[in-house]
Point group: C2
């Protein structure tokens, strides 16, 4: 009689924000089994609006993995209607945050479940499951962290800056209110403590608005520094421009050159590998760099980049 | 120099429930100036659903007077969509109460205004104003009254009985929880105390489910008995059948013959006049009866019945 060693499966952790991060998360979900991947999502953008608890990044990731996302903008529901918001407008309510009807249905359910005492993590898992998502999507914390933007016009809540003011105000600083006291979510803690953790992927999300809130949670940055698993970031900047959103603008305003190299520097204390666009490879001085086309347009692009992340983590292991 | 006596305008109070009552309220709004009419609406059917505060009868009256009601069913919004509810269903939520998207927009606004500390009366007035309604629509109370139905299957909240169970359970009794402690709304109190009150109209609504909750509020029934203004009811029953809804069924279950005469008897302590269908006139023994066609199909029907109410109140004054 002899025993056969059953190889335990490698586990991967992806940290992400909204649209850009969701693309890589989708790619990863196509190449990893559900039990191999934990997607931890920024909740610093969360806010209450029209009495509903909105988790923009979680919803973007959820809709993307469920195949329900509006395909051209990359967030919100497909074939959405805005009849509730039309009524809100008619009754004098706020309409700058464009909540669609299908989306409101989800927020109503989230409100009820939170009011029943479920954690945001449990609510997120329930919604993902009902929408047919097998992979684990989790908030960065079940606590409350609010990203606040310091601007020449004063301190603004994130959504006010991002949606209402369309990122126009000049940023002079960013705060993650509550981050020091908010415990990382069980999913994030478990993934970081998993002996089979084989890679941590920092998705191509805004470093300041999407990733830093996660890193600001007590102990998370230190655990990324300490983990034996390779930590790999995918650059959110290509040839000095953000693939999407205000990343480059914010970097300039914070007196940081908007470049893939500068983002690597931002993550330098824990970064083991960096995946950048081929054009940017000569500019970065991270020990280990992988260069490829990192702009994800098609599903094939997303899957290819996910495979590149996995291969790179194998190389760095 | 001489003074000219300016005749003060007569004021009228209408008490109503949902669809049937809203029809007469609409007629009255066409023949009375805004400052002449107060429409006080049952709130015993109000309930919280999907985390939203629903006031079915207030909304039916509001949508009807705003010209926004779904015309064939007489409640809910016209050209409604149900995309939020589709999401709720997909996420495992309750869908037996068919909340449409436009309707949800109103409930979201009501939730926010109530959470800000506004009374239901203030919220109702704000919504009516924004929807272009000049006449005063007010809840029967700013407090909480809940109509509960005693059935063979146990005590049920009204909407469970009315919508979820489709009025199928046999009613053995009805309770208006909280009515004894809920103060009548300022609008109702002011109208009843108005020296220019020239008529009170009990709209053709379900006596047990729509009017009795109003009458159960502390002091209201006594004030109707005491008011010098004529109190006139319009029969909700024609030839032994309810014009709409479960009125006849409920009367039979409560061992009351479903007839226009029985409804008059139900109101006998304060009723000064009764408007019944011509066919039913010989059966009722109220001192003063006016007979006409009381089934309101067209807007002209509603206006004609409203005029009949006003003329009758003049006769009885």
């Amino acid at each position: 009689m002899h025993t056969v060693a059953i190889p335990r499966k490698k586990h991967y952790l992806a940290l992400c924000g909204g649209v850009g991060g969701a693309k890589l998360a989708l790619g990863l979900s196509h190449v990893l089994a559900p039990e191999q991947l934990t997607i931890v999502v920024n909740t610093g953008d969360d806010f209450d609006h029209l009495g509903l608890p909105i988790s923009p990044d979680i919803d973007t990731v959820t809709y993307t993995l469920a195949g329900l996302v509006q395909p051209t903008q990359g967030w919100g529901r497909d074939s959405e209607s805005f009849n509730a918001l039309d009524t809100v407008e008619r009754l004098g309510g706020e309409t700058w945050f464009r909540l669609g009807d299908k989306d409101i249905g989800l927020h109503l359910m989230r409100r009820m479940m939170l009011d029943e005492g479920l954690s945001l993590g449990a609510v997120t898992a329930h919604i993902a499951c009902r929408l047919g998502i097998a992979h684990r999507i989790a908030p960065m914390t079940n606590g409350k962290v609010r990203t606040m933007v310091q601007t020449a016009e004063g301190l603004m809540a994130f959504q006010q800056y991002f949606v209402k003011e369309r990122c126009a105000p000049v940023i002079t600083g960013i705060q993650y209110l509550g981050a020091a006291d908010a415990p990382a979510s069980p999913a994030l803690m478990e993934a970081l403590a998993d002996p089979d953790l084989a890679g941590v992927f920092i998705c191509p999300s805004n470093p300041y608005l999407s990733i830093d809130p996660i890193l600001a949670l007590s102990g998370v940055r230190q655990k990324l520094v300490a983990t034996p698993a390779p930590v790999i970031a995918v650059a959110p900047i290509v040839r000095g421009a953000a693939i999407k959103g205000p990343t480059a603008k914010i970097m300039r305003e914070l007196s940081v050159e908007p470049s893939a190299a500068a983002v690597a520097c931002h993550y330098k204390d824990f970064l083991d590998g960096y995946i950048v666009d081929t054009a940017d490879a000569p500019t970065v001085s991270v020990p280990r760099v992988a260069a490829c086309d990192i702009v994800m347009k098609s599903l094939d692009d997303k899957i290819a980049l996910a495979r590149r992340c996995l291969a790179f983590s194998d190389e760095l292991a």
